[in-house]
């Protein structure tokens, strides 16, 4: 591993093949409605920032040369920007010694850079036509806070009530009560110094409008009324339990450690997380939902059959191609 990191070969002979594979991987991904919608959403929210490009264009890929790759590697990879995580059953002293032996004299490299994106969101419907599609792939999103923000845990709990669990309000409404969709869900994408709350669903074409209406109705309800104690308690138990499950495998623990590092979370984050979850009150849920999930600023992306859904979408804002 040390040899790969310290002395990568970047052979010229592999470059053309890797480039053409990359072009075609992108082509395959962009024949699926979910990546198409996701790409559009990222570019609307993040603009020209790298977070706004989920997939490179074929033209970009064609410009990559071995020289550029080497230059990029040496400018960006080095000891200062690297963390090694080892989790599992092992002799800690021996592993530490092995790591020191392999990496201690690795070049320091560049300092980490910090370039959080500027985000923007406006209540518009970005429509991507997929003629004849039987479902509309829908994304409703708004930029939001990241894990280092003091409101983040409360917002996570609010999200779980709204769309982030199988018993959530939106899932119960548009899946269990109405059968509009199979796998609706909301979540907060956590990136460096920025978050993105996104509601995702693949909705039967002819009920696209009614389903989106129900989603907004549920968000607005939580913005205006604090949830019942029981409902909150159940979601808190769920989040605390998932946290334990997530930390029950070595890759899960590595994920948590890396997350703490990335977001500069306090050293006691893992041991205090469960308490923080339980400290959230019903009124606090209402407060953070009203503060962060501002329905009138949400960006909508819909990939579906334009001929059928344009009329259904009109009420949600200006339709943009």
């Amino acid at each position: 591993m040390a040899d790969v990191l310290r002395n990568p070969a970047f052979p010229e002979s592999e470059l053309e093949r890797l480039k053409s594979n990359m072009v075609r991987d992108v082509t395959i991904a962009l024949s699926q409605p979910q990546p198409i919608a996701q790409q559009r959403l990222a570019s609307e929210i993040y603009g020209d920032h790298p977070y706004g490009r989920l997939f490179p264009t074929p033209e970009m890929i064609q410009t990559y040369t071995v020289e550029k790759i080497r230059a990029f590697y040496h400018a960006n990879f080095g000891a200062q920007r690297t963390h090694i995580y080892v989790v599992g059953k092992f002799d800690a002293a021996a592993v530490e010694e092995a790591i020191r032996e392999s990496f201690a004299d690795w070049t320091t490299g560049a300092e980490p850079i910090s370039r959080p994106p500027e985000t923007s969101s406006a209540r518009k419907v970005h429509l991507i036509d997929r003629p004849g599609a039987q479902q509309s792939t829908v994304r409703i999103a708004i930029p939001t806070i990241d894990p280092s923000h003091p409101d983040f845990t409360a917002l996570q709990v609010a999200n779980a009530i709204l769309g982030g669990s199988l018993t959530s309000r939106i899932t119960t409404n548009i899946r269990e009560d109405k059968g509009y969709t199979y796998s609706p869900g909301s979540g907060i994408t956590q990136r460096y110094r920025t978050g993105l709350w996104t509601m995702s669903a693949d909705i039967t074409t002819n009920v696209t409008g009614p389903a989106i209406q129900e989603i907004f109705k549920e968000i607005d309800l939580l913005r205006n009324e604090a949830p019942a104690e029981d409902e909150l308690r159940s979601v808190q138990n769920f989040l605390a339990g998932i946290f334990v499950l997530r930390n029950s495998t070595p890759p899960g623990i590595i994920g948590q450690l890396a997350r703490i590092e990335l977001h500069d979370l306090p050293a006691d984050y893992l041991s205090s997380y469960v308490d923080q979850i339980y400290a959230v009150t019903p009124e606090r849920i209402r407060e953070v939902t009203a503060k962060y999930l501002r329905t009138d600023e949400m960006t909508l992306v819909v990939a579906g059959d334009r001929a059928t859904i344009t009329e259904q979408l009109a009420e949600f804002g200006e339709i943009v191609d």
Binding site: N21, T27, I28, R175, Y182, D202, S234, G241
Partner: protein, 447 residues
């Protein structure tokens, strides 16, 4: 590490026939529950496809003492996770919970095994019908290459064979399912003597068994109807056929090569080759599985090396095997570069198969495949949920030991297996090409 072997298992059977597998491991304060019912899409009638899976959805709609949407609520309320899945042969329901809530999980599972029907209503059926139709749209009809698998199984197995139709079912059948059929299906298949309950994790075996007795012992068994399956040729589920010549798959394999070309909303062509191999559990199944690993698992495999790296006609290439109970299937697939015809891809895949059939793989390739198989087996064991899963086909003793079945397979054996089972006169081919006109792929039942 506890004093007992971490993968020690205990097996029990209740008087009503429920089989119980206990795999205690107190390393983490968690318990995984997995309840297997020996019923899947193969138990459906050819005119009522998709029912086993729709029924799985209905099992999350409450039972006599559990409210309509309360199953997940109970689980989430104690910080657990739960789900279910349906395959051709079986349906399973599972949860992972903090170990002090084992009893809750057992109660929830026993309530729907013992008291489901009073809670079933036509409103719930109607709702889940819509959800499942959306699941089909999302996974099959509105997905690139989504219909290829459906066509492969239809070509592999004749119309009245229980593996012919898709697990999720055809749209028209999902639309036609009735509440009466829900009742009938439940009474017929969802009985304790058609189920295996597995617990893995942090519990005292004696205490856990007592809880299992308390919640499940009173549920009545029923006469099972596995023998009534319309494919009378098949061996009974618990009796492996004595030799390959008696197996249905051998007869089906003699139907000869068949192929179809499918148009879809895609940019790159994709080819699938499929072959009949013996059922999961058969010694030869493991040979065939290792063969798919040698052939197509990872970037050093011949499929990837030849088609993607050397000749650069494919974007990706892989091979895999299905874990089906009565007759299994090996599939090999490649996605082409633009401009490469489906037939050329097919010929290139064939060439790799002929090579393997003509000459035993090098020891390095065998070692690579065995190492990958080992890694896969061991990383599965890290998860309690995966451990509870490994009661497949009533052979829990394979937990942690299944990997041994691969270790004695020789290169020569692999080569013979390829020659016998992957011959071109036995292959079924589906080629997916970019569509010419603008019509959507059809999910209609094929004629």
């Amino acid at each position: 590490m506890t004093s007992a072997h971490p993968l020690a298992i205990e097996r029990h059977q209740l008087d009503n026939g429920l089989r119980v597998v206990l795999q205690p491991d107190s390393e983490l304060p968690l318990v995984a529950i997995n309840l297997w019912y020996h019923v899947g899409s193969k138990n459906e009638s050819p005119s009522k496809t998709g029912f086993a899976h729709l029924f799985e959805h209905m099992l999350f709609q409450g039972s006599q003492h559990v409210g309509t949407n309360d199953h997940f609520a109970h689980i989430q309320n104690v910080g657990g996770t739960a789900n279910g899945s349906t395959s051709r042969d079986r349906t399973n329901y599972y949860e992972t919970l903090p170990s002090n809530h084992l009893e809750l999980g057992l109660w929830l599972e026993s309530d729907r095994m013992g008291f489901l029907l009073p809670a079933m209503t036509s409103e719930k059926l109607e709702n889940q019908r819509q959800v499942v139709m959306n699941e089909r749209r999302q996974r099959v009809d509105n997905q690139p290459y989504g219909l290829a698998h459906e066509r492969l199984w239809e070509l592999l197995f004749p119309g009245d064979h229980p593996y012919h139709w898709p697990i999720i079912g055809y749209m028209e059948d999902i639309e036609a399912a009735t509440l009466e059929e829900v009742h009938h299906f439940f009474k017929r298949w969802y009985r304790p003597n058609n189920a295996v309950l597995t617990l893995a994790g942090d519990f005292e075996p004696a205490t856990a068994l007592e809880l299992v007795q308390r919640y499940f012992a009173d549920i009545h068994s029923a006469e099972l109807h596995h023998a009534e399956l319309h494919s009378a040729l098949l061996p009974a589920p618990s009796q492996p056929a004595p030799d390959a010549s008696n197996r249905t798959d051998a007869k089906i394999g003699e139907q000869g090569s068949r192929r179809i070309v499918l148009e879809d909303d895609i940019h790159l062509p994709r080819v699938y080759l499929a072959f009949h191999v013996p059922a999961y559990g058969d010694a030869e199944w493991y040979v065939a599985d290792l063969l798919t690993t040698v052939l197509g698992d990872g970037k050093s495999s011949p499929l990837y090396d030849q088609l993607v790296q050397q000749r650069q006609i494919a974007q990706s290439a892989s091979a895999w095997i299905h874990e089906t109970e009565r007759s299994s299937v090996v599939m090999i697939s490649a996605t082409g570069r633009p401009g490469v015809e489906g037939e050329a891809l097919e010929a290139a895949l064939r060439e790799q198969l002929e090579r393997l059939a003509g000459e035993p793989p090098a020891q390095a390739d065998m070692d690579r495949a065995l190492n990958r198989t080992r890694t896969r087996a061991y990383s599965d064991l890290q998860s309690l949920g995966r451990r509870a899963y490994t009661t497949y086909f009533d052979r829990p003793e394979l937990l942690g030991h299944e990997v041994e079945r691969y270790l004695e397979i020789g290169a020569e054996e692999l080569c013979q297996c390829a020659a016998r089972l992957l011959a071109d006169e036995r292959q079924v081919v589906v080629i997916v090409i970019p569509k010419q006109s603008s019509h959507q792929p059809s999910s209609e039942r094929p004629q």
